[in-house]
Symmetry: C2
Subunit: 415 residues, 2 copies
């Protein structure tokens, strides 16, 4: 079949590969592969107006810049991934002293996190290459997203998880009909076993920072930010500053890729400034950024923001570049600030999981340190629902008072 | 100010009241009040095409048939309530032997349940009548929805809950900035105290089956079903059969009201057949329906579907009529069937809480008992996200196998 992209390009050595030549990372150095579209051919037929003219309330509206065909599954959750709302919380903006503040909330995605974007594209790619089974090592949002998107069109998903994974997270995967294998070992052993099984059984592997199509799904958030916000900014406005939570680095890399696609087509006059935010307890990529090189060194991650708790980021180099190449930076925040951010976002009706609120915590710190100016237009990417981690919410707020069942007691509390 | 509705009508004695005359239930007999629109005036200016022509992906697209003005809060979660997806899970339809099956999934609502519809309208009404504080007795979805919708536009919410309520559910309310009061007593005492405080402090009370505007929010689901499904049915098709989970009876009453509005305008040739589904352990309304009268007797509710676990339904009479007046019926299902339904829906990528999966369990039983025929077009209303009750999901599926971290172990499990 005809492929919808031109070639792969290694992010480390720059080597090019034809679509059928490789599947995951660079055979020479293990570098993450960028999926390169045929921008010259696209430029002949596609205009921004044509690009946005598809009446579809999901990421599939951007089919013309995706490297896969539409996998079908219309009127299933697969066709509901993406196209998430952008809120303008005026009270928060005023409190922070910002002229423009947008928050893009990924909770309405089918499995309630940003990861549905990646899984939707990987499921489509699996169908194109006739892979019958899609596999991932994950206990969290990526696993749920793969299980949910696969279920939507009846594809088979296998998830490897360490046996210590919380039973509640595992239950969701099984509800979606995924085959879950609890590995008697740690996360790295589950990861390695998923790769071994992939090779042995001819499966297709979704692992983040390994499969090049996850970033292609994540880039759709950039297209949405462009359509929903950037195109509406006055021409003399400063470029949009975007805060993104960072764990393994694949979301920030994917969003950067989306903007690079738009820039390659000449549709994005001002590249947004991308600021990555990590927990202080899981800051491998921020460390590398501030060292000024691309050498990612593992850490011993300890943060309550489990979705961005990562020892060795698998997409670190591209993540460093996303900030460096756009005039952005990396910010780290303590867990206490992440919890405060949950409460702040809740005040305007947005319930975020810790990883999601981390981006907002980064904005607060960036304002304190004058990394962002009051007149800068700012967008915060809130990557997942607070319902994913209600325990963290309990830590974020004070307990409610207990009162006697009478009016006097009510009056006393309200005084 | 000019009111957007004609009058209230008591559902028990039929007495009429002007908009400013009463606020909650009928002063004579405590009956639930229906909000009656001025259908004759509407008919002069409004057509179905005009009605649907508002480019807004929320329930506010139906502003012309709502009894409130748009409260503002554009680009906040308040303008994201409603307009939920309708899925067509073909594999499930085939398995059940149904020609047409739609599932309307309420999970993408801002606080992940159907209750956002009611709270959105109540928040708007509070603004119209200059009520500064909105109060509710609830530990569950209604409380979260009120807290979330109020937070969206900076309105103040007070929630009364029994002190035995699960801390995780309370945390969400506090994150949304609601003032939560834990009452040292049972749910009924919390409910009564909320009413007393409402009267004493001049607050506005959202309690379900008490405030007439909750049903006006819930009716928007009927408008969506009409726009998304019914208008596309062939003329010679049988009327749509709709399965709705029932606890206190307000959702089924609200949906029925929406269809009655459309019928009053002459836009709905065939009233859908509405089937209420209750847990066997909380079947007060089903009992009354099958007795053939309108005398609602309390039960001692015991079901794991906590959102529909109700001793004395507060909107029982209208709920009985919703089925009776549309040629529908009531079905009860055991908790085991509710759990099985969670797993069934998961197979097509829909993660439902127990109350939500109850409707699907009702469909399965209706087919077994030939209450529904294979050629009947069927819609199931799935009212909330499975993330609201992950413990139930754990009960719904078998545990995953634990394996040694090697390929042989994987092979053994897959055989």
């Amino acid at each position: 079949m005809k492929q919808k992209f031109s070639h792969y390009e290694c992010s480390i050595c720059g080597a090019n590969y034809n679509p059928g030549e490789v599947t995951y990372t660079c055979p020479k150095d293990g570098g993450n592969l960028n999926v390169i579209l045929d921008y010259a051919a696209l430029n002949k037929n596609l205009t921004p107006d044509k690009f946005m003219d598809i009446p579809e309330a999901s990421l599939w509206r951007y089919i013309n810049l995706l490297p896969v065909e539409d996998p079908g599954g219309f009127a299933t959750p697969l066709h509901r991934a993406g196209w998430t709302p952008v809120y303008q919380p005026k009270r928060l903006a005023k409190k922070l002293g910002l002229k423009h503040l947008w928050i893009k909330d990924e909770s309405p995605n089918p499995t309630a996190s940003f990861k549905d974007r990646a899984s939707a594209i990987v499921v489509a790619r699996a169908q194109e290459i006739d892979a019958e089974v899609i596999v991932a090592a994950s206990t969290g949002n990526a696993g749920a997203a793969l299980a949910g998107m696969a279920a939507a069109i009846g594809a088979k998903a296998v998830i490897f998880a360490p046996k210590t994974a919380p039973p509640a997270k595992i239950a969701q995967l099984i509800v979606f009909g995924a085959q879950v294998l609890l590995v008697d070992g740690n996360y790295d052993q589950a990861f390695d076993l998923s790769i071994e099984a992939t090779q042995n059984f001819g499966w297709y592997n979704r692992n983040t920072g390994y499969n090049p199509f996850t970033a292609e799904g994540k880039k759709t958030a950039a297209f949405e930010i462009w359509e929903q916000v950037i195109r509406g900014l006055p021409e003399n406005e400063k470029p949009l500053t975007i805060f993104i939570p960072v764990g393994d680095g694949n979301i920030i890399s994917g969003v950067h890729k989306g903007f690079k696609d738009l820039q390659a087509l000449g549709w994005l006059p001002n590249m947004p400034r991308i600021i990555g935010v990590q927990s202080e307890g899981s800051a491998a990529i921020a460390n590398t950024f501030h060292q000024g090189d691309e050498d990612i060194k593992p850490v011993q991650a300890t943060t309550l923001a489990d979705s961005i708790s990562v020892d060795l980021p698998r997409d670190g180099v591209r993540a460093v570049r996303a900030a460096r190449d756009t005039g952005g930076t990396y910010i780290t925040v303590p867990d206490s600030a992440i919890l405060e951010a949950i409460a702040e976002l809740g005040q305007v009706g947005i319930f975020a999981e810790p990883a999601a609120s981390t981006a907002y915590a980064g904005l607060v710190k960036a304002l304190e340190e004058a990394i962002v100016q009051p007149e800068d237009p700012v967008l915060v990417l809130s990557t997942g629902s607070g319902l994913k981690d209600v325990k963290a919410a309990m830590q974020a707020v004070a307990a409610a008072p207990v009162i006697e069942p009478n009016l006097e007691a009510v009056k006393k509390v309200l005084q």
